[in-house]
């Protein structure tokens, strides 16, 4: 019985991740991360996603703060976007990474308006990603719970 439920959950997870690939929300780097998870590190994907989200939220908060000032410190902005772009790339968050590239460009152009638009886009992409990641994590945890039960 548990065997069937486990198989069903795994298929659900696989399809869900595939849909994220298809939408361009995730790229192949995420597969690399999944491949690093094994029985000795069963929570690896969960941990990476959690770290990523905490860090991304920290950065987006800072970006909002610095963009809120009368006189924008574009180099500060750039430093933060660079960090977010790096993390996005490392976790395979493809669309979020592209949104970061846009903010970088607007920052290089010293365009406050452009930066505000780009940051809105980043926020949208991040919220979408986070919501999907939450589903993903729930599936992962259910799978682990069943596998632990089985033992």
């Amino acid at each position: 019985m548990i065997q069937m439920a486990l198989a069903a959950l795994k298929t659900q997870l696989k399809n869900f991740v595939q849909s994220m690939f298809d939408e361009g929300v995730l790229d192949s780097q995420f597969s690399q991360i999944q491949a690093l998870q094994d029985s000795s590190n069963p929570n690896f994907v969960d941990e990476v996603i959690t770290l990523f989200c905490t860090d991304a939220e920290r950065i987006i908060t800072e970006l909002n703060k610095y963009l809120g000032y009368q006189s924008v410190d574009f180099s500060k902005l750039d430093t933060y976007v660079h960090q977010l772009k790096g993390s996005s790339s490392s976790i395979g968050a493809h669309r979020l990474k592209l949104a970061c590239v846009n903010l970088r460009q607007a920052s290089d152009d010293r365009s406050k308006e452009g930066c505000v638009r780009a940051l809105n886009s980043i926020t949208r992409e991040y919220c979408l990603l986070r919501s999907k990641f939450q589903t993903l994590i729930q599936l992962e945890r259910s799978i682990i719970a069943l596998e632990t039960n089985r033992q």
């Binding site: 298809d22 790229d27 192949s28 690093l36 990476v48 860090d55 490392s90 592209l98």
Partner: protein, 213 residues
């Protein structure tokens, strides 16, 4: 675990990004390396037993400059772009240090800038990896680690031989020349890598991802 500690290589990973530290740690452990991660170049130097201002000031309490020998590091892998001390600065400091210069250093960067790559290789970096780093990249580390290991063993053997029998000056000269030849060979290899940057260093990031609607 029955495995002897000396058969495992110890890698020091330096990156200011918490996600990248987590990833590189997992990648290295999966490749059976012992790993220590730090979040800055200055912490890396501290761990290696070197201080940024290594001036002899007897009044400042400091860690013994030789403690890195107790925590042996076989390779340093570092991010390029870090606040404060960059990976390049760290590389320079390591190569300028008489006690640390033999430790192989690998640089990682999210940006593919050819001048940056050649600058690092010129300064003595063994490899330059584009981020995100993959398991297949880490396979390139082994030869550099094996080289150091065999050199260490050679040095240990030398010391033992010196203890048992006093060497003639001629023998010493021969060994010195051999060592210099080895150095020259590895320098030539580095130049070859520089001049013909292999496509691997500039690999494309996406493998046929469908475009966003």
């Amino acid at each position: 675990m029955g495995m002897a500690a000396e058969s495992q290589f110890h890698v020091l990973a330096v990156d200011d990004s918490i996600i990248d530290r987590k990833l590189i740690e997992r990648l290295l452990k999966t490749s059976s390396y012992q790993v220590t991660t730090v979040d800055s170049g200055s912490k890396a130097l501290e761990f290696l037993g070197l201080h940024e201002d290594d001036t002899t000031n007897p009044s400042t309490p400091c860690v013994s400059p030789n403690n890195h020998q107790e925590v042996e590091v076989n390779l340093v892998i570092t991010d390029y772009c870090m606040p404060g001390m960059t990976g390049y600065d760290l590389l320079k400091k390591i190569k300028e240090s008489s006690s640390l210069r033999d430790i192989p250093v690998v640089i990682m960067s999210s940006e593919n800038v050819p001048s940056r790559i050649s600058r690092c290789l010129e300064e003595g970096a063994e490899e330059f990896f584009l981020k995100p780093v993959r398991l297949s990249d880490l396979n390139k580390l082994r030869p550099h680690l094996m080289k150091t290991k065999s050199k260490d063993q050679h040095q240990k053997q030398e010391k033992q031989e010196e203890k048992s029998a006093f060497q003639s000056p001629k023998q010493q000269q021969q060994e010195k020349e051999e060592h210099q030849q080895q150095q020259q060979a590895s320098n030539n290899k580095r130049k070859a890598i520089e001049e013909g940057l292999s496509p691997e260093r500039t690999r494309p990031r996406y493998n046929g991802i469908t475009t966003v609607v």
